[in-house]
Symmetry: C2
Subunit: 153 residues, 2 copies
């Protein structure tokens, strides 16, 4: 886990390495993306980025996140809520997600045994694992969770 500043520096290096420009919009979006530890949707990123650059449009967030995803700086996930969510990609790191069905909070987990079993299952069918998606939807039993339940809708 790196600090936000070095992540932003990485983003700038990525842009200049690709001959792309560092605009106010891209800075605002990247700052929002790296500052929040959460798995944000495009709309949430837009809302956060607008706190710094009010005129930013949805399409710019969309294109910036695509840029980062293609460039390997971000990873995109489609959870059960049906829209894309992004998280910073970390070199050589892999994890899956544990999602609270009550408050929507997303935790990460990693389990070597599961990974190994997946390889075995695929091999049994003459296949080689390329990627996978594994999400556990669970109910949080702790009281803190219930409090977070208070949603607008």
């Amino acid at each position: 886990m790196e600090d936000v500043d070095s992540q932003l520096a990485q983003f700038r290096d990525f842009l200049s390495g690709e001959g792309l420009k560092l605009t106010r919009q891209r800075q605002a979006i990247a700052a929002a993306f790296y500052s929040s530890g959460a798995h944000l949707s495009l709309q949430e990123l837009l809302d956060l980025a607008r706190e710094r650059e009010p005129s930013i449009g949805y399409a710019t967030v969309y294109r910036t996140m695509r840029l980062m995803t293609d460039g390997g700086l971000a990873t995109e996930h489609q959870f059960a809520d049906g829209h894309a969510r992004f998280e910073p990609a970390e070199e050589g790191e892999h994890h899956d997600h544990l999602i609270c069905v009550t408050c929507g909070h997303i935790l990460e987990f990693e389990d070597d045994k599961i990974e190994a079993i997946q390889d075995t299952i695929a091999a049994a069918h003459g296949m080689k694992v390329q990627s996978h998606r594994h999400e556990i939807y669970a109910e949080c039993l702790r009281p803190e969770c219930e409090r977070r339940t208070a949603k607008p809708n």
Copy 2:
């Protein structure tokens, strides 16, 4: 695994039990659904159903599959291709999916060890598993697969 006729009979029983009508359209859709062993999308179900009842509309397939899903006769999945796919639901049965990235063919798998580990992971976070989604995307190494690759697009 039951034969198609008894599955269709189950569907008819379900309809009459709910006070719903058995229309030509519903018969055609259910027949298409149960006859194909695959995980079909709404469009694919529509195409198949139209072979029997050419005038069927997309909305009817949508509503029929919703009916079956709500009634517990079908299960809906959202795989990486982004649209809903359906499979017959079997009593008390659970499985996950192994998907070939080359031809898109979907196999089913089930692993008690993985299920158990999931419970452990959730418990470690004070959570109780409610459901999960686990898809393995793999490359088929057998030549038969490549042949199936010849897609229209």
